[in-house]
Symmetry: C2
Subunit: 202 residues, 2 copies
DNA sequence: TCGTTTCTGTACCAATTGGTCCAAAACTAT
DNA sequence: ATAGTTTTGGACCAATTGGTACAGAAACGA
C-alpha cells in the first residue's frame, strides 16, 4: 500500500554509478548526483541511506557488471568444455576494455579508482573495492589452474593470477590516462603474451 | 633586502608533497596542509601561489625523487657500461617499491594517484602527471633498446617499455591496496620474469 | 634609529559541503 | 470518499571549502 516510488530505483542507481565512475567519490557533490539520478534530495536519503551507502551499492553494481563477463562465457561454449578457461580471461579484457565505448573506457575501473582514492580516506570503502578485485583474481586463478592441469600452460596458478591482476590494474590506469584504443590493444597483446596466453585472430 | 622567509621552503614543500601523496589532492584541506607544512595561510599563498600551484610543484618534486633512482645507477657502475641497462629497471623497482618504509610504500605513486583522481576533474593536472610517467617510460624504452641491441633480450623496445609501465602502474595500485611486502616481492618477481629480466640473487 | 620592504597571523569572505526537517502531495486499500 | 502510509520538494542547518584583506611584526640597509 501507500505511494510508490516515482522513479526507477535501478536506473537511478546506475546513473549514480556512472557519475561516481567518472568523477570519483569525493568529487561527486550531492546536487550533481541528484541531477544525474533525476531524483530529489529527500528521495536519495529515503531510498539509499546516504552518499556513502549509495556509493557502496554502486561498487556492488559495478562489480556485478565487471564480473559477469568473466563467468558468462560458460553459456557460450557450453559444449562440455570447462567454464574456467584462458579464453575467459582473454574475453574479460576484451569485454571490459576494448569493446567499451570510449567515454566509458576512459573512466578506467571504478574498483581500482576507489582503492586509490579512498586508501587514506575511508579504509572500509577502499577495502571493499579491494575485496571485489580479489574475487576477480580468484577467478583468474581458477582459470589458470585448469589450463595448467590440462598442460596448456606452465607456472603457478597463483603467480599467474597475481600477474594478471597487476596487468589489469595497470591497464585500467592506462585507460583513465586516455591512451588511444590502438595503444591499449597493443599493451593488451603484450600483456596476454606475458601471461602465456596466445591471442587468437579475429 | 628586507625580511627573509622564516621557514625552510624546501622542507615545507616536501611536507606538502607527502600529505598529497598520502591523501590525494582533494582530500587535503588547507588547514591540514598548513599544519603539515608548519606555515600560516598567508605564507602559503605568498610563497606557493595557491593550492593548485603548490600541488604542481609537489608533482615535480615527486617526479625528481622517482626518476633519479632510475638514472643514478650511472654513478654506480660507471665502469664503461652503458647507463641504460636492464639493471637500472630492476633497481628502479627495488628503490621505489621494496626498499621504502611501509608507510610510504602504502601511498603508492603520487603520479599514478593523480592521474586517476584528477582525470575527470582537472585534466591539466592529470595530464601533467601523465607526462611525467611518459618520461619514465621513455627511459625504460632506452634501457630495453640497449639490451636488445646487445642481444640480451628479444622483442620490441617500445612494447617492452609499455608493458613495463603497465606493470609498474599495476604494482603501485597493489601497494596502495596495502598488500604485504612478501606479496609485492612475489608480484615483482613475476613481473620481471614477464619482461624477460632475470632477477639476480641478493 | 629610522624607513622601507617583506613576511605573517588573524579575521573575514562567499560559496559549497553533506545532511535534516517538515508540510504537502500522491498513492492504495478499505 | 477517506483514512493511512509513503514519497517528495524545498527550506534550512552547521561546518567546511579555498581564497582575500589588512594591520602589525620583523628584518634589513642606510
Amino acid at each position: 500500500m501507500a505511494r510508490p516510488l516515482s522513479f526507477d530505483r535501478d536506473a537511478s542507481l546506475e546513473a549514480a554509478m556512472i557519475l561516481f565512475w567518472q568523477r570519483g567519490y569525493q568529487a561527486c557533490a550531492l546536487p550533481d548526483l541528484l541531477n544525474a539520478m533525476n531524483i530529489s534530495r529527500s528521495s536519495l536519503y529515503a531510498s539509499f541511506g546516504d552518499k556513502r551507502q549509495l556509493f557502496m551499492e554502486c561498487l556492488e553494481l559495478f562489480f556485478q557488471r565487471t564480473f559477469n563477463p568473466l563467468c558468462q562465457i560458460q553459456g557460450e561454449n557450453a559444449n562440455g568444455e570447462s567454464s574456467y578457461s584462458l579464453q575467459s580471461i582473454e574475453n574479460f579484457f576484451r569485454y571490459t576494455i576494448l569493446q567499451v565505448p570510449e567515454h566509458r573506457r576512459e573512466c578506467g575501473c571504478l574498483l581500482v579508482n576507489t582503492i586509490l582514492e579512498m586508501a587514506d580516506q575511508d579504509q572500509q570503502l577502499s577495502q571493499l573495492a579491494a575485496e571485489k578485485l580479489s574475487q576477480v583474481e580468484a577467478y583468474f586463478q581458477e582459470c589458470f589452474k585448469h589450463a595448467i592441469d590440462e598442460g596448456a600452460l606452465q607456472g603457478k596458478a597463483r603467480d599467474l593470477a597475481q600477474l594478471c591482476m597487476t596487468l589489469n590494474q595497470g591497464l585500467r590506469v592506462a585507460c583513465r590516462q586516455g591512451r588511444s584504443l590502438s595503444e591499449l590493444e597493443n599493451i593488451l597483446q603484450s600483456s596476454l603474451r606475458a601471461l602465456g596466453i596466445e591471442q587468437k585472430m579475429h
